[in-house]
Subunit: 241 residues, 2 copies
Amino acid sequence: MKPIQLIPVEGMPEIVRASDLAALICGAVAESGGQIEHHDVLVVTQKIVSKAEGAMAQVDPEDPLSHKPLVEQESVRILRRRGDLIISETRHGFVCANAGIDLSNVARGQAALLPVDPDRSARRIRDGIKGLIGVEVAVVISDTFGRPWRRGVTDVAIGAAGILPVLDLRGTQDTYGRELQVTEVAIVDEIAGAAELVMGKSTGIPVAIVRGVDETAFQLGGSRVGVAENLVRSPQEDLFR
Amino acid sequence: MKPIQLIPVEGMPEIVRASDLAALICGAVAESGGQIEHHDVLVVTQKIVSKAEGAMAQVDPEDPLSHKPLVEQESVRILRRRGDLIISETRHGFVCANAGIDLSNVARGQAALLPVDPDRSARRIRDGIKGLIGVEVAVVISDTFGRPWRRGVTDVAIGAAGILPVLDLRGTQDTYGRELQVTEVAIVDEIAGAAELVMGKSTGIPVAIVRGVDETAFQLGGSRVGVAENLVRSPQEDLFR
C-alpha cells in the first residue's frame, strides 16, 4: 500500500447561499500554493454544503430549544428521546442526533439542516472541479455523528461521488489464503473521519484533501453509487432500528 | 492544522506467541528505510497483539461454527442474535459481533480472541519502543467493528497509550465565537479508521504510522487514560443497550 496524505485546505471564505463550492475550493488550494491532483478525495463538511445550498432555517436566538420542532419535521422516525436529545432517522435514512440539525459554525438565529441529497451535492462539486480544472477527483460530504456504545463523535460520510462508499472484498483472501470473513469496508466513513483529524471543530477548515487512497476504490467513470443507497443499512437488515 | 501522513509499515514478520512487537515494529520500520518519530501514533491491529499475547483458542477447522461457544464465554451480555450472528458486549465493554473473535488471518484451527487488556497492550508497545529507540510515541490498538444503521465495517480503537482517546473541546468556540455544541471527538477511532486505509484486509500490513496528529491530543507523560474507561459509554448513559 502507498502512504496517504491528509491535507487541510486553508483559506476558504465564509460560505453563503449560492456560493460556488467547486470554484472556491479550487481557488483556496491554488492560493495556498497547493494543487488538486487526479484521484484526490476532497472531503467537504456538510455545514458549508448546507450553507451554499440554502439548507438553513431560522431559529429564535434567545431560545436554545427553538430548533426542536425542525428536528421532528426533518425526521421520518424517532428512535430514542432523552431530555432534549432526540435520536431519529432522517429521510435519507441516516440515524443521528437531532436529525443532523445543528447550530455550531452558523450565524446566530440560524440552524443548518442536512442537504436534501448529499450524494448529488458531492457530484455537483466533483463535476464543478472537473469542469474548472479538468481534474478527476472524488468528493465525500462529511458530518459529525455520535454512535451508540462508544463515547465521542466521529466524522462520517453522508454523501459521495466518484468513490465506492463500501469496498466489497468478497472473494478476497487473507494472508493464509482463506476467504475473508469481513468483506465490506465502509471506506468513505474512514476517509471522512481521517479528514476530521486535519479540520478540527473550531479552526474554520471545512475542506481537506485525502491523497493516495487505493485506486480500486474509485469509480470516476460516472457510475452513481451513492452513500444513501449504498451505505445506509435497510431497516430489514438492521438489528437496532 | 498541519498535514497528516498515513504510512503503512511493510515487512512485519509472522507474529507468534511472545513475539516482541515493539522490537519487530522498530525493525520493520528501519528495514524499510523509515524512521519512527517523536509524536508518531503507531496503529497496531488487534490480530497481531492477540497472537503475541497468546489470546488464541483452538477451534474445529471442519466446523465453521465451532467458535460460537467461545463467543458466549467471552461475552458479558448478548444484545442481539440473528442466525449465526451474535452482537454482544465483551468484558471490556465493547459492543461488537461475535465478541471480537475472528478466524481471518490466523492459522487454520485457531481463533483470535480480544487481548485481555488492550490499553495495557498499547502501553507495553509504547514503553517497549521508548526503551529500544528512546522515542516517545502513542500507540492505538485497532479492530474492525460493524455498527448499527450503516453498512460496512470500519476500524476503531480498542486500546490506546500516550494519546487521549476522546478530545474534550468543552469551552472551545466555533468560528462565530460561540461555544461548540459537539464537544467530545473520539480521535482514536478516527485514527484507527484512517490507518485502515493503508493496511487493507488482505495485504498483511498490521501496523501503520500516523504522523502529524495535533499535539494537544498527546498525553505522553505517563497519564493512563485508556480506551476501556474513556471511550466505552456506560450502560447508564447509553440509549441502545
